[in-house]
Symmetry: C2
Subunit: 158 residues, 2 copies
DNA sequence: GGCCATTGAGTTGTGCACAACTTAATCGTG
DNA sequence: CACGATTAAGTTGTGCACAACTCAATGGCC
């Protein structure tokens, strides 16, 4: 591995510079989005993770917690309390499955279904705020998904 | 604005699909990185946000909390307890400034300085795990920084 | 000099992420 | 059928992110 002090191959000491860390750029962008969503979602009475849960339910309808977690990459440790809060606000129902008593099915209440019509505004408001072209967004998204897949694949062997 | 059902201009109902949300891709990638760092940083006894603080201190030396927060986009509400934990592990010192008693200066202990030699491994192990070319990483990073800047600029007016 | 707005840290409360664990239901195999 | 392994959800504990707040120090301005 040849390492010369160029833009593409930084010197040894540069590896620990904060502004050279892709993860920090990712983290910062993610939090910046969070701030934006917090403002936009306030009207709907949702936090950002709660909004993601609602997206999945609007798209797929009733689902066991396990499936929900698969879509969102979240485990029951995160979802259980979050779903309880959503149930408390009256947007979803949680019911033990009759066929398999281990599993809990999550479904939308009428109120939860109704919220969708108010939520269609959200993506457009967010997209407008980024000021990015849609093609650029899609491209970025493709790369990020590739990156996530690579990280997931690498995780077990690190 | 013309909207036709092509790949670049999805139909109305597709706007609420989870897999169409750039923020989710970002969020997922960020958490996937988090999992990787958790494993790698375990040896150093650091969490990922603590590692970021150490990066800034290794790069800039002694800094007031305010400056640290500026680099990391974090406020005192997040930093104060985090810095206390780092102080408790003996990696940093926190000292009230003599010139301005409102401000607290954060500096590295000998132990904190020494940790750097063990940390130089981290970025390479992470980079290896991504399996991405360095140029691709840099490109992605540039776009993310642009995105973050756009979001920050948009935030006040949303 | 006196007064008030501003500033920097810290505290409190809420919610999320995740590891480690518990509990109960189900499955598989002899 | 019995019994150990597996599975799904939930609980507990730690740490981070952030809003809203407190408190003390500072600075500006009359």
């Amino acid at each position: 591995m040849t390492e010369q002090p160029t833009a593409d191959a930084p010197r040894e000491q540069d590896f620990l510079r904060l502004d050279g860390q892709i993860c920090f750029a990712l983290n910062a962008a993610s939090r910046a989005f969070g701030g934006l969503y917090r403002v936009v979602l306030k009207d709907l009475g949702l936090t950002y993770p709660q909004y993601l849960v609602m997206l999945v339910l609007w798209e797929h309808g009733e689902l066991p917690v396990k499936e929900l977690g698969h879509h969102l990459r979240l485990d029951s440790g995160t979802l259980s309390p979050l779903l309880k809060r959503l149930e408390a606000t009256g947007l979803i129902r949680r019911e033990r499955s009759a066929e398999d008593e281990r599993s809990v099915h999550v479904s939308l209440t009428d109120e939860g279904v109704a919220l969708r019509t108010r939520a269609v505004e959200v993506p457009r408001r967010i997209a407008a705020a980024t000021g990015f072209e849609l093609t650029e967004i899609r491209d970025l998204q493709t790369r990020l998904n590739k990156l996530t897949a690579a990280l997931d694949a690498a995780a077990p062997e690190v």
